[in-house]
Amino acid sequence: MKHIKTNKTISMLIVDDDLFIVKFLKKYFTHAGYNVFTAENGQQALEQIQKVSIDIIILDTMMPVMDGFQFLHQLRHTLHSMIPVISLTAMETQNSEADLLNAGASTVLFKPINHEVLSDTVSNIVDFLN
């Protein structure tokens, strides 16, 4: 597990309807020193963003109420937010990656992913932010 070394604690928003994934990721990144918030769908995630300052978002694509695409659209075009978004998707196709990137994702990772890979991706983005 990579521990972040920053001046401030990075706030992370994990958006996924799978409670197990949310729990696992929350535990993991909390241990890693992140301030982790969670949301079950895109709608809840938008509400969270408007309440707290989020530095990075790990976003699942297929969610009820508001899926990943709709959330990205709202985030980028309505809220005009530039928060980096790591999009996780089970649809491992060229089109799905391109669609997500076009929708506003910063990077796309295909499930199932190694938590270390996810951790490295997050670290890279944090380093970049720093």
Binding site: D18, I21, K27, H31, V65, F69, I113
Partner: protein, 910 residues
């Protein structure tokens, strides 16, 4: 009748005719024909003076029998004649029963004067006693007629030859004037039975005749008498009046004339020869051989012409032989033989053709009967028991009986019965030529018998209704079927009588085959059949029956062909349409294809989009390799459906017998002409494709879900390795992992079940489907083009599986959309959006339309209103089904607000 029997019959015919001829059985006919032919003298067309008399070296001098012939008269006549130097003078002593002395003197003094004495057969001695033995006398006998016609004369006289000379006078004359010719005739026995046919061919007025008075008064011409053989006799004899001879003559024909023709025949060596009995036999045999040779060529219908031609040639040959070769052929024998030959050969050909036809027809009937009913079916009673049981079970009859007609009898016999027998039929009602049978035949349908008026079966049940059906096959009544049934059963089954009629048709066919089997196994031959007076089952009847069978078979095959779900078209080997079924007709009409105007190649190229050259290669491959070929169709105007075209060759079921030793093939090589044609079948795979698409989508989602679950598990497992995680936290993670594993296992099991379930098996059960995909397809079909309405479909990339039955969901959504479209204002928009909840997917539809009061709308939906549209009726039914998927549909309307609808479907993965 085989060929040996034919030849035997022919030889017998020849023998019979020869025998009849030998015993003179045909003399009368032959004689008449001979007379006619003699009179048909070719010289009648020529100048009568054309040297006709050039060969006549005879002069006839006729005495008037009324005139008294005194010795001086005789002396004068004889002297006058002698002065002209005749070769011979022959005096018929019938002219003067008592020969005067002066005549006797002249007879004795002149070597060339002879007396001709006629003797009868019986009184030879008596007759000759009146003639002086010193006088030079020749003898003759009265000729014998054949049925009154004098055609022949004798060479040798019959009777007591010790008393008189045995040779008749004609031969004595010949002996005197031409000894060589006489010797020749005596040495070559050309006379049949001592008789010879006198040559009457020169016709009447052949021999010069003068009256004796001219001789008496010496008014003679030198050339008329000189060197002639002069016969003197009475003009009309006392004993013999006009002789009937084969000469057309208006004058009388006396014995003297007869003598003259007879003498001329012998002297001129112009005897009409006849064929001997041996010769007749040989001639007839040759005629047989020749005729049989000719008859083998051509069909029966030209045999008559051939026979006519042969008959004419026989008649012509006989005439030519008679007039030009002085030969009389056995014409009557030959004609009789020819006619009998014609009849015999005709019958033989008839039998042969009938046998071939019967065999061919039996082969055809056997082939049409591909049920392969073995002979044992007809031999035993057991199969009929099965038939009767089946009929009874289906129709619920009280009792029934099958009766068959006995050939040659007007009564019926029992085939099989249930709960009754033929004894239950009133005696007077077993004659099928009377009612009710005649009525049943006339109606050709089940008839009800009025049991109150006159019962058919002895009734044990007053309520029972009795029916009678004629069993008719190929327009022939084979038997009858009678049964009793309760009236309420008929009332409760409106199709009862139709079923009875259908069964009757089938039973008729069974009865037909049973009777054919029995007929074939007891076939007998009879002489009457050979001579054509009694024939077996006629070919016409058999042909009719076979045609009936073929028609039924053809109807069955055609109905199967038209009933095929696939669209099928059959081409012959040259690419021309042979037949197409109804589905193919509909298919081509919908797509404006003129299949009958196109060859197979053109048709395939058009519907598949493949180039003609490639289609040609495909066809060659199919024909040579005998394989089925499938091609997806590419119809430009139709993207909603998915069709597969199957092309296969139809192989003949008749296998060729390759009997050549030189062929070294391991495989059976089929030649192109064993292929009957090419069958094209178009199968509509749209639904199957849709079903596969649904499963594909389900698998896709399942795949995503699995990957999602794998993500959880990997995350969890990875975290167990983290040192910073406390043991309690790890325990918690393990618990979560176990829970996740359990959850995933359940999901896999469920998906596994759905994967192997045919979603068509239970049409109202739920199945994981992707509704957005179905909705997309519905929106983009051609169904909604009537109005100028825009459908705004949520283009979210949401793909969620819900529980529904795809067809019903499709139909329901289509119906709802129809309602919205019909209600929508022209140019407006219908909006369709999705909203995914945790457990449900909600689909919203609404329009900008006229709407209706919601109460009325709900009443229409629930079926409480009358005169509602089909959409409301269908929707009501489908909404009921949707409850099985735990789905909800909320649809409402208001005036001016159009219609809006919310469909809530339960998600598969939550």
């Amino acid at each position: 009748m085989d060929k040996i029997k034919l030849l035997t019959v022919i030889v017998m015919l020849v023998g019979i005719i020869s025998t009849i001829s030998y015993f003179k059985g045909l003399v009368l006919l032959n004689g008449h024909l001979y007379d006619i032919y003699v009179k048909l003298d070719p010289y009648t067309w020529k100048d009568k003076n054309d040297n006709k008399n050039s060969h006549a070296n005879i002069l006839l001098v006729k005495f008037d029998p009324q005139i008294e012939k005194t010795p001086e008269y005789w002396h004068q006549v004889i002297n006058n004649l002698l002065s002209y130097q005749p070769k011979l003078l022959i005096i018929n002593d019938l002219t003067t029963p008592h020969i005067p002395d002066i005549l006797q003197q002249q007879l004795l003094n002149n070597k060339n004067i002879f007396l001709l004495h006629y003797i009868t057969d019986n009184n030879a001695v008596e007759n000759t006693s009146s003639v002086s033995p010193l006088l030079p006398t020749w003898y003759a006998q009265y000729p014998q007629s054949e049925y009154g016609i004098y055609r022949r004369n004798k060479r040798f006289l019959s009777g007591n030859i010790n008393v008189y000379d045995d040779l008749s006078f004609e031969f004595r004359v010949l002996e005197k004037i031409n000894p060589l010719q006489f010797q020749y005739l005596m040495d070559n026995d050309i006379f049949d039975n001592n008789q010879y046919l006198i040559n009457y061919l020169p016709g009447s007025n052949y021999l010069p005749v003068i009256k004796a008075q001219r001789a008496f008064s010496n008014q003679l011409i030198f050339e008329l008498v000189q060197d002639k053989i002069v016969l003197l006799g009475n003009d009309i004899q006392v004993h013999v009046y006009t002789m009937d001879v084969p000469i057309s003559t208006k004058t009388t024909f006396s014995l003297l004339d007869f003598q003259g023709y007879s003498l001329a025949t012998v002297l001129n060596n112009s005897v009409i020869h006849e064929v001997s009995q041996t010769g007749i036999l040989l001639l007839l045999l040759i005629q047989c051989v020749w005729s049989l040779y000719i008859y083998q060529w051509g069909y029966r219908n030209i045999h008559f012409t051939v026979t006519f031609a042969i008959t004419l040639s026989i008649l012509l040959s006989a005439w030519i032989a008679l007039h030009f070769f002085l030969l009389w052929l056995p014409v009557v024998e030959m004609l009789l033989l020819q006619l009998l030959l014609y009849y015999v050969v005709f019958q033989y050909r008839l039998f042969t053709e009938e046998a071939i036809l019967q065999q061919a027809l039996l082969d055809v009937t056997a082939r049409t009967q591909e049920r392969v009913i073995p002979a044992s079916f007809y031999q035993s009673e057991e199969p009929w028991s099965q038939v009767i049981t089946l009929v009874n079970q289906t129709l619920n009859l009280n009792r029934l009986i099958f009766l068959e007609r006995i050939e040659g009898d007007h009564r019926l016999r029992e085939v099989k019965a249930l709960n009754c027998s033929i004894d239950d039929i009133y005696e007077m009602r077993r004659d099928y030529q009377r009612t009710p049978y005649s009525t049943a035949i006339e109606e050709n349908a089940p008839i009800q018998i009025n049991t109150k008026k006159r019962a058919y079966l002895t009734s044990t049940n007053e309520t029972e209704e009795q029916f009678l059906v004629a069993l008719i096959f190929a327009e022939e009544v084979l038997g009858f079927w009678a049964f009793g049934v309760e009236p309420e059963y008929i009332e409760n089954n409106p199709l009862f009588l139709t079923l009875v009629k259908d069964y009757a048709l089938q039973i008729s066919e069974l009865l037909y085959f049973r009777q054919r089997f029995q007929h074939i196994s007891t076939k007998t031959y009879s002489l009457l059949r050979y001579i054509g007076l009694k024939s077996e089952i006629s070919s016409q009847r058999l042909l009719k029956q076979s045609i009936e069978l073929l028609n039924k078979r053809l109807d069955s095959v055609e109905s199967i062909f038209h009933g095929m779900k696939t669209a099928a078209i059959l081409y012959d080997l040259f690419g021309r349409v042979v037949q197409m079924n109804h589905n193919m007709e509909a298919f081509t009409q919908q797509r404006h294809l003129s299949a009958y105007d196109m060859t197979a190649l053109d048709f395939i190229a058009t519907i598949t989009g493949i180039e003609l050259q490639n289609v040609r290669l495909i066809m060659q491959h199919i024909i040579t390799e005998q394989k089925l070929f499938n091609i997806p169709l590419n119809i430009k105007e139709d993207h909603q459906h998915f069709f597969i075209l199957s092309i296969k060759p139809l192989q003949s079921s008749i296998k060729t017998d390759l009997n050549m030793d030189n062929i070294n093939t391991k495989h059976e090589e089929i030649t192109p002409f064993q292929i009957l044609g090419i069958l094209l079948e178009i199968s509509d795979m749209t639904e199957i494709k849709q079903d596969l698409s649904i499963k594909e989508k389900m698998n896709e989602h399942f795949f995503f879900q699995i990957r999602n679950d794998m993500e959880s598990l990997l995350m969890g497992i990875g975290m167990l390795d983290e040192e910073l995680m406390s043991s309690e936290e790890k325990k918690e993670i393990i618990q979560m992992l176990l829970e996740k594993v359990h959850q995933s296992s359940n999901m896999i099991k469920t998906m596994h079940q759905y994967f192997y379930q045919d979603n068509k098996v239970l049409s109202i059960s739920k199945y994981p489907i992707e509704p957005t995909h179905i909705i997309y397809q519905i929106i983009h079909s051609d169904k909604f083009t009537q109005k100028d309405i825009t459908i705004d479909l949520d283009n979210s990339k949401l793909e969620t599986l819900v529980y529904a039955e795809p067809k019903i969901f499709q139909d329901t959504f289509t119906t709802i959309l129809n309602l919205l479209i019909k209600d929508a204002i022209e140019g407006s928009k219908i909006v369709i959006t999705y909203y995914e909840q945790k457990e449900f997917l909600e689909i919203y539809l609404y329009n900008t339309g006229f709407g209706m009061p919601n109460k009325q709308f709900q009443q229409a939906l629930s079926g409480e209103s009358e005169n509602v549209s089909q959409d409301f009726i269908q929707l009501k039914e489908r909404l009921q089904w949707m409850k099985n998927w735990e789905a909800e549909v909320d649809i409402r309307s208001d005036i001016g607000e159009g219609i809006d609808c919310k469909i809530r479907l339960k998600k598969v993965f939550m």
